[in-house]
């Protein structure tokens, strides 16, 4: 197992009073760029956690006659990348513990609550760099969250909560898309979205890769079918899958969709297409190319030049582990090059 802890956590001391670029007409502080980047990352992460919880709830609601292994909640914690913190705080991975830990726990640095709190505090620090729509989305979400926290939630209420989290992310993302000036501020915020999204998709694949491997495949096994569709549901890709491949759900094709298909907005290739594009725009605007551009292009090229069969031959698990490491490294390179 690779290092599961989030490579992406903000160094709050970073982002000093340095300018992102040496060009005199571009005066954004590294600290501003840093906050914009992390606002988007945290919002994206909150949405991802809501998706995992939603998909896991669906999976555990199946009748036990389908032969579920009963480890769904544990695997939700794994996918969220906070196994160690969870083991310390709770112990048993059941529905109540996991939902609480991933949603509201103040002790979990990557709980939905903390993600939204961090997004908001970063946003407040660079309030003038955001449009009022973006700020309202985050601030409103923070206030609304207090109401949810106070409630005792049954399953139905919790499902409503998860939908609400996804909605917050939609509204924030949509506001950025519709109202933000297309300059370095926007590009940094997009980088945050896509680095986080690539990480999230890779994590889902990493935890679930064993159900995608051919040797565990029981032909017609109903559990496998539900596991596979859960993977697709986690990234809202079940319908897309049928549009693209027009055949029964198969592990190889699921991996193809989530790794190599650029038309699928959460696939690794699509994320890197965007990362590379926004890094190019930054490089152009600042008149300098650096290691971040080179590294992103290299990953994009390798994702464009390979085929899913080749990845399976070389080992899906190894590929995903390498990808997560590389993606974390790129996050680090972007921080070194621009944000501190």
């Amino acid at each position: 197992m690779p290092d599961f802890s989030y490579g992406g956590t903000q160094d709050l001391a970073a982002g000093a009073q340095r300018l992102v670029s040496k060009r005199p007409d571009l005066t954004m502080l590294s600290r501003t760029a840093d906050s914009l980047y992390w606002v988007s990352r945290y919002v994206e992460r909150a949405e991802y956690l809501a998706r995992i919880l939603d998909a896991t709830t669906r999976l555990t609601n199946l009748p036990s006659a389908y032969g579920g292994a009963g480890t769904e909640w544990h695997s939700a914690v794994l996918t969220a990348g906070c196994e160690e913190a969870f083991a310390k705080a709770y112990g048993e991975a059941n529905e109540r513990n996991v939902c609480d830990f991933l949603s509201f726990s103040p002790d979990n640095p990557s709980s939905i609550r903390n993600c939204l709190a961090l997004a908001r505090s970063n946003a407040r620090a660079v309030r003038t760099a955001l449009t009022s729509e973006m700020w309202d989305a985050l601030n409103g979400a923070w206030l609304e969250l207090q109401r949810f926290e106070k409630k005792r939630m049954d399953r139905e209420e919790f499902a409503r909560f998860l939908d609400w989290v996804k909605n917050v992310s939609l509204v924030f993302d949509g506001s950025a898309y519709r109202t933000m000036l297309r300059d370095d501020g926007y590009w940094f915020s997009r980088l945050g979205v896509y680095i986080e999204r690539a990480d999230n998709t890779a994590r889902i694949l990493d935890v679930k890769y064993h159900v995608l491997l051919p040797d565990t495949e029981q032909v017609g096994g109903s559990l496998d079918y539900f596991q596979w569709t859960t993977v697709l549901r986690e990234v809202s890709a079940l319908t897309a899958y049928h549009w693209v491949y027009r055949e029964a759900v198969k592990p190889l094709l699921i991996a193809d969709l989530l790794i190599l298909n650029r038309r699928m907005p959460r696939s690794l290739a699509a994320c890197y297409e965007n990362i590379s594009r926004f890094l190019d725009l930054l490089g152009d605007a600042y008149g300098r190319q650096g290691p971040a551009q080179r590294q992103a292009r290299k990953t994009l090229a390798s994702l464009s030049n390979t085929q899913i069969e080749t990845i399976f031959e070389g080992g899906l698990h190894e590929f995903i582990s390498d990808f997560i490491t590389e993606n974390n490294r790129l996050g680090g390179t972007i921080i070194d090059q621009y944000l501190q």
Partner: protein, 275 residues
């Protein structure tokens, strides 16, 4: 280096063509040495343009249009960011094993004269890499790279006999030599930007890649006498020119075809793509 490329292929027909079908290998892919920042293919007439890939992984476009067509052009514009990897090709799409490229084709049949030249030129070197460098230098010295209107013969043997040919012929001669020595060799079509180090003019270009154990594919450009640097943009590969040609096509009618090609490949300013 950031290279701005503009490639226009214009056709005019004395008698209008009723139908045209073409396969365009005019789109580069990313690898470690190059990154496509922007790329567009625009035919000047209406028709079907479908993207796809061939067996080597080259990006191809199938273009077809119905006439009557008296004139048309395919316009290609793009921006590429390259880095100098001293000819080593890493991270490129590899759909077929290297051994496939040991096969001789009509274009790369060496004559007896070329075979003995290859033997003499490479006898001093003891590694395959050394031999290839020696062969490249010897061919660069011996052969003249001429403009298309002074081309004397097609194919490796004919070009070597004349000691002259276009860049395409030089690549074929070099490939013939490498395959004669038992090394996998493939043809590369692409562009080359102007640079002080290069004797050849900027524009469309062709060179060869040789597969060497422990190194992988390495490019050799006989026309310029060096391994490709950051001025070279790789577009398509194949067993010879026929596999990697920028345009191959057929038409109905359209007697009296007049073809004109204009290529520019120049170093672009850093902010060229920002507008």
């Amino acid at each position: 280096m950031r290279i701005s490329i503009s490639h226009t292929i214009s056709y005019a027909y004395a008698e209008p063509a009723r139908h045209i079908t073409q396969i365009l290998r005019l789109t580069p892919r990313d690898h470690d040495g190059q990154h496509v920042m922007a790329w567009r293919i625009e035919p000047t007439i209406d028709g079907r343009l479908q993207a796809g890939q061939d067996a080597y992984g080259n990006i191809i476009h199938r273009f077809s249009a119905d006439g009557p067509i008296t004139e048309m052009a395919i316009q290609v514009n793009g921006l590429i960011e390259t880095v100098d990897l001293a000819g080593v090709v890493r991270g490129a799409v590899e759909r077929v094993p290297p051994d496939v490229f040991r096969r001789d084709t009509m274009m790369t049949m060496p004559g007896s004269e070329l075979r003995s030249f290859v033997g003499a030129a490479t006898s001093g070197a003891d590694t395959p890499l050394g031999k290839m460098h020696a062969l490249m230098e010897a061919l660069h010295e011996t052969m003249t790279c001429v403009p298309a209107d002074q081309r004397t013969g097609i194919g490796a043997a004919a070009a070597f006999e004349a000691r002259a040919g276009i860049a395409q012929d030089l690549a074929h001669v070099f490939m013939a030599g490498a395959r004669h020595l038992g090394l996998p060799a493939r043809y590369v079509s692409g562009y080359v930007a102007h640079a002080a180090a290069l004797p050849q003019a900027a524009g469309a270009h062709a060179w060869a890649e040789i597969y060497l154990e422990n190194y992988g594919w390495i490019g050799f450009d006989c026309a310029n006498g060096l391994c490709p640097i950051d001025t070279h943009v790789r577009v398509a590969i194949g067993l010879d020119y026929g596999d990697a040609a920028p345009v191959r096509g057929a038409r109905k009618g359209g007697q009296g075809e007049n073809l004109a090609v204009r290529v520019t490949a120049t170093e672009a300013g850093a902010r060229a793509s920002n507008q």
